[in-house]
């Protein structure tokens, strides 16, 4: 049986300490707990992340990690999942990473339903680059690049995920570890693409959306008896953002994954196929195409 501490490495998180501390600390410990509870050994899962504060997660977790480039975690993760269907593939993005520069991969990965758990650390700000507004910053949000207040309405990951045919659409809050563990586990166990948008307070740059701010607003949709199979209801909930912010699983459907339907995977994972020379029959067949 694995324990959360089995996923600790010597590298210490570089996130902002404090009381409360950066939401990423809670996400990190939740990931460790989740991996342990799902009994996934370090070599059995891989995290594909981008560039941003939260994307350093793999540096602090004993696990396979690929800290790629800003905006591309989902694309790299797609390649991973298609190549090795036996690994648990987790993509970690920031809100800038996943919804700004990475927006195109976001909308296309969802509809494909590749087996990826997408954890979006949504702190509604650009943390690592020191506090510019992000695509999820609320209107009027002031930052060095929006000194007069942001004038574009934020992107709504929930409505986009529903429009984009994500088969698992959820939100959780870094201030509620129990909730996070539950959602992370469900997301990883879901077959296909699963979005987990994590409301993650950035204690340094985002002085608006704090632990208290979120804490006073979030509630789990299950409490209201929401049926996660009901897409219309999910659409209504997805639009809520204000006095009440719904968290939990807004929508889930079962449908075949991309991998289920891909001809090249009929004999199993690509990595399991032996890499060998073409046999004479194959060679002859190939040549015959040009005769």
């Amino acid at each position: 049986m694995l324990r959360p501490s089995d996923f600790i490495v010597y590298q210490k998180p570089t996130w902002c300490p404090g009381n409360p501390s950066c939401g990423n600390f809670h996400i990190l410990s939740t990931i460790r707990t989740t991996l342990a509870e799902l009994n996934l050994a370090p070599h059995q899962a891989i995290i594909s992340s981008g560039i941003g504060c939260g994307s350093k997660m793999p540096d602090y977790t004993k696990i396979n990690g690929f800290m790629g480039i800003h905006g591309r975690p989902l694309a790299v993760a797609s390649g991973m999942a298609l190549a090795n269907g036996e690994q648990v593939v987790i993509a970690i993005t920031g809100d800038g990473d996943g919804y700004a520069i990475g927006g195109n991969h976001f909308i296309h990965t969802m509809r494909r339903n590749i087996n990826i758990t997408h954890i979006a650390q949504n702190n509604q700000v650009y943390g690592l680059t020191k506090g510019q507004y992000s695509p999820t910053s609320q209107k009027g949000y002031k930052s060095k690049t929006s000194p007069y207040g942001a004038i574009e309405p934020p992107i709504n990951p929930m409505t986009h995920a529903l429009a984009g045919e994500a088969s698992f659409v959820s939100r959780t809050f870094a201030g509620d570890r129990e909730h996070m563990v539950r959602i992370f586990k469900e997301a990883i166990q879901h077959r296909g693409y699963a979005l987990v948008d994590v409301l993650q307070p950035c204690i340094i740059f985002n002085r608006v959306n704090t632990y208290e701010w979120y804490g006073a607003r979030v509630y789990d949709v299950e409490e209201d008896g929401h049926d996660r199979r009901d897409k219309s209801a999910a659409w209504r909930l997805a639009q809520l953002w204000g006095e009440k912010i719904p968290i939990g699983v807004l929508y889930q459907e079962e449908r075949p994954t991309y991998e289920d339907q891909e001809v090249a995977l009929r004999n199993g994972s690509l990595v399991k196929q032996e890499l060998k020379l073409l046999n004479p029959v194959q060679v002859e067949k190939l040549k015959a195409l040009f005769l």
């Binding site: 070599h43 800290m67 090249a264």
Partner: protein, 588 residues
């Protein structure tokens, strides 16, 4: 009278079947045992405009087209008017009898007018105007005296899917048309085609050959976004997806294509992506990611003329320097520049080994001319059995069993190459990798000494890879008055130009580079320093290889024959430039 030595050009608007007719006729010729070279000239549109497909036949092996044609099959008036001047005296032109043309003028130029009832036969015999192309090919066949049997075979094959009735209709049309050609014009025409009896051979172009090489060497993943003239690579692999277990993913854009290939390769699968200039530009950032994380990946750039969209369906060699320097910072990369269909296959077979051996991106720099031009090759030209799958320093489970400490992905070594473990392949096979600078264990590290060492380690791989170079070829006599220097697809036209010059009493040879990076400095210096006169031949404005040669060897090539109008070199163009001393930006 000449036998099996001619060029036929099929020309017309897009949508008139120029390509399918050309492809069909050349397949028949190939099956008839002839030596061929085909090339295509087409516009960036789906219908209309003016395209052509040119088939050159020769008794000996040929590597290029030439500018002169002997027989023009003009599918419309524009084709007739535009290309008749390219026909040699004694040549002929086939056109529909209803086309209004000045046959008087043709006669004056010594060109034979082969007015033919092409449409009439299609309509009357086949009952279908769509059979015009069949009629046209068959007439051409008849006029040149080429075997009807082979033409019939190709017709049968290509229409098989459409059902018996269509096949039979076309065959009837072909027969009548063939007879018309042979009976009416064969005797007047001095360029004949005759079947040669030999075992079946392959007709194949650069994109196809590369794809076979890639399949042979175990490519199992391609993620790409369509882009002319590279798309067919993905399409060829897609058509074999099930049989060879190749996963083909058309992506949302080229960034995703590159990143998915990196992700797949990181998991241990031989992966590639193929594109042309604009798509390559979008892959530039992730190219550096592969360089930094030391992920093997093969990127094919089938060049077309830029800048930007440029001439989307044409050819150029304008991206050489771009390939060497794309992406911020410095990291090792290998750049292969195959020049022939054989080399394209070899590039496919080599690239994945190189990528895995040196754990680095390998760029295969081809171009439209190489990509879509076909040659006919003996079946054993591509040595499938000789392909050697070398995954480099890849740790097997037994190796990992022996590890006493945690596995370190980027351990420092003499060669710069760190043994690679595939994530998840063993319980010790887990580690972080990052696009940030990192320590031997893969964790982020900003320490300055480590940075120096890691840079040196990565760049060392370039030196290590230099022992493994695909060496330049010196074609022609060892010693010559003129040494031409070229890379990539210029091989064919230049080779023949060299032959022509030598046949004409001049003396010339060609130094051709199938790999430009790491730069084969030793060999190039050696040859050039001993050369009497050196002339570069490149399909770009800036003589990019010449610049690289000067940078790497100090040797200055002052005279370069350049072409950058989107059309491929021909031996004619090269020899004319030489004769008229049109060097550097003084184009014809």
């Amino acid at each position: 009278m000449s036998i099996n030595k001619m060029s036929l050009r099929i020309a017309g608007a897009a949508g008139q079947g120029v390509e399918s007719t050309g492809a069909g006729f050349s397949l028949a010729l190939s099956r008839g045992g002839l030596n061929l070279f085909t090339m295509q000239d087409y516009m960036s549109r789906i219908r209309g405009g003016l395209n052509f497909f040119q088939i050159r036949v020769a008794p000996n092996e040929i590597f290029t087209h030439t500018d002169n044609i002997h027989l023009l099959l003009a599918l419309n008036k524009e084709a007739f008017d535009t290309y008749r001047t390219d026909i040699v005296p004694g040549g002929g032109i086939i056109y529909d009898q209803d086309m209004k043309v000045e046959d008087k003028e043709l006669e004056d130029d010594g060109i034979k007018a082969f007015a033919s009832p092409i449409i009439e036969i299609a309509e009357d015999v086949g009952g279908n105007r769509l059979m015009t192309n069949t009629a046209a090919v068959a007439i051409s066949s008849g006029i040149t005296g080429f075997s009807f049997e082979k033409i019939g075979e190709v017709i049968e094959n290509s229409f098989a899917k459409k059902g018996k009735q269509i096949v039979e209709g076309n065959l009837r049309v072909a027969e009548v048309a063939y007879d018309f050609g042979r009976d009416t014009y064969y005797d007047q025409f001095e360029y004949h085609l005759a079947e040669v009896d030999r075992p079946p051979r392959m007709m194949i172009n650069g994109n196809q050959a590369f794809s076979l090489g890639a399949l042979a060497s175990g490519c199992r993943f391609i993620s790409s976004y369509p882009m002319t003239p590279a798309t067919t690579i993905m399409e060829i692999l897609a058509s074999h997806a099930e049989e060879y277990g190749v996963l083909v993913k058309q992506t949302e854009d080229e960034i995703a294509a590159m990143c998915m290939a990196i992700g797949a390769s990181h998991m241990g699968v031989r992966a590639m992506t193929a594109t042309s200039g604009g798509g390559f530009s979008l892959k530039v950032e992730a190219l550096g990611l592969a360089g930094m994380t030391e992920t093997p990946v093969v990127i094919v750039n089938v060049q077309r003329p830029g800048p930007s969209t440029g001439l989307a369906t044409r050819t150029e060699q304008g991206d050489l320097r771009f390939m060497l320097h794309a992406s911020q910072g410095e990291f090792p990369r290998l750049v292969l520049t195959p020049g022939t269909v054989e080399q394209a296959f070899e590039a496919g077979a080599r690239a994945f080994n190189l990528a895995e051996k040196y754990q680095t991106p390998v760029i295969v720099l081809s171009d439209q001319f190489l990509g879509v031009s076909s040659r006919v090759l003996e079946q054993d030209t591509f040595d499938f059995n000789g392909v050697n799958i070398d995954r480099g320093e890849l740790l097997r489970p037994e190796d990992l069993d022996k590890l006493e400490e945690d596995y370190q992905r980027y351990v420092f070594t003499e060669t710069g190459i760190s043994p690679r473990a595939i994530p998840g392949s063993h319980e010790k096979a887990f580690y972080p990798v990052t696009s940030d600078e990192h320590g031997p264990d893969g964790h982020i590290l900003e320490d300055r000494t480590n940075r120096f060492r890691m840079m040196n380690k990565r760049m060392k791989k370039l030196e290590t890879a230099s022992i493994d170079l695909w060496q330049p070829e010196l074609y022609g006599p060892e010693e010559a008055d003129i040494t031409f220097v070229a890379w990539g697809s210029t091989y064919g036209p230049l080779r023949e130009a060299v032959d022509w010059l030598n046949d004409d009493g001049s003396s010339a040879n060609m130094l051709h580079l199938p790999q430009v990076w790491p730069f084969p400095e030793k060999r190039v210096s050696e040859i050039l320093s001993g050369a009497r006169r050196v002339i570069g031949v490149e399909s770009n404005f800036s003589a990019q290889l010449a610049g690289l040669i000067r940078e790497e060897t100090g040797f200055h090539i002052g005279s370069n024959i350049l072409r950058y109008d989107g059309r491929p070199f021909s031996p004619n163009y090269i020899t004319q430039c030489l004769e008229e001393e049109r060097f550097n930006a003084q184009t014809i």
